[in-house]
């Protein structure tokens, strides 16, 4: 039996971890126990940037990571990461399950990776301690912690707010003391990181609906027989449905929990936010391949 090692930064029981575990069960069953998957959750093997290098160099075979760290390597991943590119989660599912998703998956191969599946990671929205956000004007002057990404920094600037990159572990106390006014994330992270305790205004602007990616080392994948390759691909596809189900349940649970704890959730008018993104798109989408990809995504109904 060959045991394949997979990394995840989320804790045990998190939908992405459970999705990969389910993938492992299916693979084990369908290869009659010749292959099994062991998930190293909770960033035991390192943060995403590190585990990506590990899976590319073959230290581990599998990895579940977000797509943002690939923006510098696999340029096609920039498109789904664009702010307000997806109108809704349904729109995202349609795009990523279809031909465009396959095009993005194929783009991982030159980096030595096989993208097996896209997993749900929900929609990221802004939250802050100052005031509810109902329009772009309300964003003016607020300081938000964002991840280390030029697109995010430019998005926040385009909305009239101030982006402050900062280590994730410092965000809670930084909001509490007022170094920053807030941050942005999905409901489960807003809940588990306890940021709802210090930043009560959650504005459902859903600026990014970026799925996460489940990748395999290409050399390890190529070593499989064509039959096994098909089994792996099908098992990954089957695990997506399971993961989406778990994710939806997790989001609903977190949302009701933060609401019970006093978080105020508002739904701002999204059009103003979308309109403000034109300069961001102009700056980051100069490559003709990406321009075409953006148009294709927007054309999906």
């Amino acid at each position: 039996q060959t045991v394949l090692k997979s990394s995840d930064t989320h804790p045990d029981g998190y939908p992405t971890v459970e999705g990969v575990k389910y993938f492992g069960e299916l693979v084990k069953e369908r290869t009659a126990g010749r292959y099994a998957v062991e998930v190293y959750h909770s960033a035991q093997l390192g943060e995403e940037k590190d585990t990506i290098e590990q899976v590319r160099s073959g230290v581990i075979e599998l990895n579940r990571v977000s797509m943002a760290p690939f923006n510098g390597t696999v340029k096609e991943t920039i498109v789904p990461a664009l702010p307000y590119i997806f109108r809704s989660e349904e729109h995202m599912h349609k795009v990523m399950d279809g031909a465009i998703g396959d095009q993005i998956k194929a783009a991982f191969e030159p980096a030595g990776l096989v993208a097996l599946a896209f997993y749900d990671a929900g929609a990221r929205s802004f939250y802050n301690k100052q005031k509810p956000i109902n329009s772009v004007a309300d964003m003016k002057g607020l300081k938000f912690r964002v991840i280390q990404s030029d697109i995010f920094v430019d998005m926040v600037a385009a909305l009239g707010a101030n982006a402050t990159p900062m280590p994730y572990g410092e965000v809670y106390s930084a909001i509490e003391t007022g170094v920053i006014d807030g941050a942005e994330n999905n409901f489960p992270s807003y809940d588990t990181a306890k940021h709802f305790e210090v930043a009560k205004n959650f504005s459902l602007d859903e600026h990014t609906i970026l799925p996460e990616v489940f990748v395999m080392n290409k050399a390890a994948f190529d070593k499989l027989t064509p039959e096994d390759q098909a089994i792996f691909k099908q098992a990954a596809k089957d695990s997506v449905a399971k993961q989406r189900e778990l994710w939806a349940a997790k989001t609903a649970e977190s949302r009701s929990k933060v609401e019970a704890a006093g978080a105020k959730i508002t739904t701002p008018d999204k059009q103003g936010f979308i309109d403000a993104m034109n300069p961001v798109y102009d700056k980051h989408i100069t490559d003709p391949v990406l321009k075409k990809l953006v148009e294709d995504v927007q054309a999906v109904q």
Partner: protein, 186 residues
């Protein structure tokens, strides 16, 4: 000391001093960068996104440069309990093994550090907009210096230079520290 050995020892001494100055400059610039980050956010209300990764990258440089100098100046911390009770000849052998260990690890830093540079050369670091390979260049540079400095110690020892005697004759760390403090104006 043979003239050739003396010349290379001089060159390495110069290299070590240069590394120390570069590392010190790195620390000063790092201070300036983080101060600039606070100033921009609080006074200009506009946070630059390059300050954090920039400061962290400078930190790798000064750690690896400073660590390499530490090999030459022999200030890395270890359990020296066995060294205290060993006879002189045995001590030299144990120190030889430690130098070989440092040398071997330095080789690893250069070899695998270069592989990491190549693996990540085509990636781009967010905010800094330079190749991701730069993350690992300090590792390679530090490894090169560690190899050179540990090799120097081995060669000098084999050439019969009294590098270990100097260590043995140094006052215990505690007293040396007192001497150092005494040098500071009270």
């Amino acid at each position: 000391m043979p003239a050739k050995l003396e010349r290379s020892a001089k060159a390495l001494s110069w290299l070590s001093t240069l590394s120390l100055w570069l590392a010190g400059a790195g620390l000063v610039v790092m201070t300036a960068i983080v101060a600039w980050q606070v100033f921009c956010r609080y006074v200009l209300n506009d946070s630059p996104s390059w300050t954090e990764p920039g400061a962290v990258m400078l930190m790798s440089w000064f750690i690896f440069l400073g660590a390499a100098v530490g090999v030459r100046e022999n200030y890395h911390m270890g359990f020296d309990v066995l060294l205290y009770v060993m006879p002189k000849g045995g001590k030299a052998w144990l120190r030889m093994i430690s130098d070989i260990v440092a040398f071997a690890f330095g080789i690893g830093m250069v070899w695998y550090g270069s592989q990491l540079v190549m693996l990540t050369w085509n990636t781009t670091l967010p905010s800094l907009r330079i190749s991701g390979g730069w993350d690992y260049v300090p590792l390679v540079a530090g490894g090169t210096l560690i190899c050179l400095f540990s090799l120097e110690r081995m060669v000098l020892r084999l050439a019969g230079q009294p590098i270990d005697d100097i260590l043995d004759e140094l006052p215990p760390a505690e007293v040396a520290a007192e001497l150092d403090t005494a040098k500071v104006k009270a």
